[in-house]
């Protein structure tokens, strides 16, 4: 994180002279009918953001995003968000500089340096890495928001045609060595609490107790533990006629034997690799988005034991893309398998149906009603004296003020 802050400090004198500084953001307030099971954010094994039952007003979050066009080719971007799900927390979601000189050929390159999301999500293209379709992102992108952030450099080259373009990205990054731990410890979840630098992810209390730690057990997902570079590559084809198609590979190249002590707890490095596939297509007024991910994460807490978790997830979303009213429907499927299985296996499988209706009566207002119904089966819940398989429903009515 320090190099990022340093780069941003260097950019400040330029920013003072920049003509184009913009501030945007949102303030999100909701009424939530929570799922019955205690949320993982509160230390439970519930997979939704809000658990424990009951209907009450909630603070969904606030974001402040600053952009400064320092020179015609140099853009500075920073996104800071505030949440109070697991204690009040102000976190830096992304901060980077992008250098993109103009090109008078079909080829154009750019370089991004700082802390940024790997280009996994096809949903989260609205302000502050939110989804314009639903409040709750898919299982895949919920995990990206919780545990994936690249601190480093991304090189992008585009070839632009009359009606289509091809983009290739290659990035090298430090940090993010614990990425994958939450999938092993908790499994997949659906929630729009995006974590940033300064934030800590909480593991289920039953997992902490199994590890011999008095809960709450929290860790910082973006730290560097092994001084090894991670990388990802992405290839995207965009066509005005056929839509957008992406394939990516990610490997944090963490050394699974590494660990470090933060805040009195041991944080392990998890070697996490995955393939991601994405497709987005417009069929008349309907937008279709689909993504799939398959990968694995492993750690070696002792020379005699390596725990691996293989994870798979996918979703299909269909949304109405015209007018003030935007209904969207999404089906998520997810599973993961622990190898070798422990006495109380951390394997799981499940699905979720999300139905949302967004209304944009004013440019500064978005009102969204959303129902998430999730079926999941996870043996870990037995440790909480609960049954492994359950169905949870979370209903939200939210107002997001945009500025």
């Amino acid at each position: 994180m320090r190099p990022v802050l340093f780069a941003l400090l260097l950019a400040l004198p330029l920013a003072a002279r920049a003509q184009d500084i913009q501030w945007h953001g949102f303030l999100d307030l909701r009424i939530v009918d929570a799922a019955a099971q205690r949320s993982w954010i509160a230390g439970g094994t519930g997979k939704l953001r809000y658990g424990g039952g009951g209907t009450q007003g909630r603070f969904g979050g606030a974001a402040l995003i600053g952009t400064a066009q320092l020179t015609p080719a140099l853009l500075a971007y920073a996104d800071v968000q505030f949440r109070n799900d697991d204690g009040a927390s102000l976190e830096l979601i992304e901060a980077y500089l992008r250098y993109r000189p103009v090109s008078l050929t079909p080829w154009r390159w750019s370089l991004k340096a700082g802390a940024f999301f790997p280009p996994v999500s096809l949903e989260n293209d609205a302000i502050g890495w939110t989804s314009p379709w639903t409040l709750t992102p898919s299982a895949i992108n919920s995990w990206v928001g919780e545990e994936l952030r690249s601190t480093g450099t991304e090189f992008l080259v585009e070839r632009r045609g009359a009606h289509s373009s091809i983009e290739a990205r290659l990035a090298a990054f430090v940090g993010n060595d614990p990425a994958g731990e939450i999938l092993a410890a908790r499994g997949w979840s659906l929630g729009d609490a995006s974590y940033g630098f300064g934030g800590q992810v909480r593991e289920p209390d039953v997992y902490a107790l199994e590890e011999g730690v008095v809960p709450p057990l929290r860790y910082r997902p973006f730290v560097e533990l092994d001084q090894r570079l991670g990388w990802y590559a992405d290839l995207t084809w965009r066509s005005q006629r056929h839509g957008r198609y992406s394939v990516m590979y990610y490997d944090n190249r963490a050394d699974p034997t590494e660990r470090s002590t933060y805040d009195g707890h041991t944080t392990f490095a998890w070697r996490t690799k995955f393939w991601g596939l994405g497709a987005q297509r417009r069929l008349g007024p309907i937008e279709i988005i689909a993504q799939a991910m398959t990968g694995s994460t492993l750690f070696t807490p002792s020379p005699s034991y390596t725990g691996e978790t293989r994870f798979h997830a996918g979703y299909v979303l269909a949304g109405w893309a015209r007018g003030e009213w935007r209904p969207a429907l999404r089906l998520d499927l997810f599973s993961l398998r622990q190898i070798p299985p422990s006495e109380v296996p951390l394997s799981e499988h499940g699905n979720a149906i999300t139905a949302a209706l967004s209304w944009r009566p004013r440019p500064w207002l978005r009102v969204t009603g959303e129902v998430v119904r999730m079926e999941s089966w996870r043996r870990q819940r037995i440790l909480e004296n609960a049954v492994a398989g359950r169905t949870d429903t979370q209903v939200q009515l939210g107002a997001r003020l945009l500025f």
Partner: protein, 228 residues
């Protein structure tokens, strides 16, 4: 391209008809008007289509080439205005930044490539458009900003309005080839060239065309997605 109103045209044609009766030279003096109506695959009107007319048999007398002009494309609220403009070879193009923000206007088209960083209130130097063809224009700061310039050496050329209609005036009798172009027209589905014959006896002709268009990539400005 002539955009005079129908009343003026009718009056002119009436005068022309009188003259024709006197001089027995109807065909040369009483010119017809042509309305081209363009719809998309869903039957909706197509705006910003370019309709070019060329004489097929060489019989229609060609209009005098108009004098070279300079036309500008503005930037307002991070949008190029107009989205599409027609030029003649020899015309000049100026970009004018009437926005509160800076723009980096550029094109890498084969016909003409250029780039201008324009602070608010600034205008580019005039660009001489010497060759016919299509020039796609973007802004390297704001990816959503796009515009098109169509440089045409056709004797008659026009751009469709919001109702999908192009109006040509004072067309001499003869047979014409009508060519259509639109930025979103589906590649490979341009269709064969169409011909139309304007008889000396008629004063008004209508021609309807259908274009298969790709989805419009332009998104309306939205605060929720205004981060570039």
């Amino acid at each position: 391209m002539i955009r005079s109103g129908p009343f003026r045209r009718n009056a002119r044609c009436f005068a022309g008809a009188l003259a024709a009766a006197l001089l027995l030279a109807t065909r040369l003096l009483c010119a017809a008007e042509l309305f081209v109506e363009i719809s998309d695959q869903d039957g909706g009107p197509v705006e910003d289509a370019v309709v070019s007319l060329t004489a097929l048999d060489g019989r229609p007398a060609l209009p005098d080439p108009p004098p070279s002009t300079t036309k500008s494309i503005d930037q307002r609220n991070e949008v190029f205005v107009p989205f599409l403009e027609i030029f003649r070879p020899g015309d000049r193009l100026v970009f004018q930044n009437n926005d509160s923000t800076r723009h980096h206007v550029y094109s890498f088209s084969e016909v003409k490539s250029f780039e201008f960083v324009l602070a608010k209130g600034e205008s580019s130097t005039p660009i001489l458009l010497d060759r016919p063809g299509v020039i796609a224009i973007g802004c390297n700061i704001h990816d959503s900003m796009i515009a098109y310039v169509f440089v045409s050496d056709a004797p008659w050329v026009g751009r469709s309005d919001r109702r999908g209609s192009v109006h040509f005036d004072k067309l001499p009798a003869g047979t014409y080839t009508i060519a259509l172009w639109h930025p979103w027209q589906t590649p490979g589905e341009e269709g064969a060239a169409q011909h139309i014959t304007i008889d000396a006896a008629v004063t008004s002709v209508r021609a309807a065309f259908s274009l298969s268009l790709l989805p419009d990539p332009r998104q309306p400005r939205d605060r929720e997605r205004s981060i570039y």
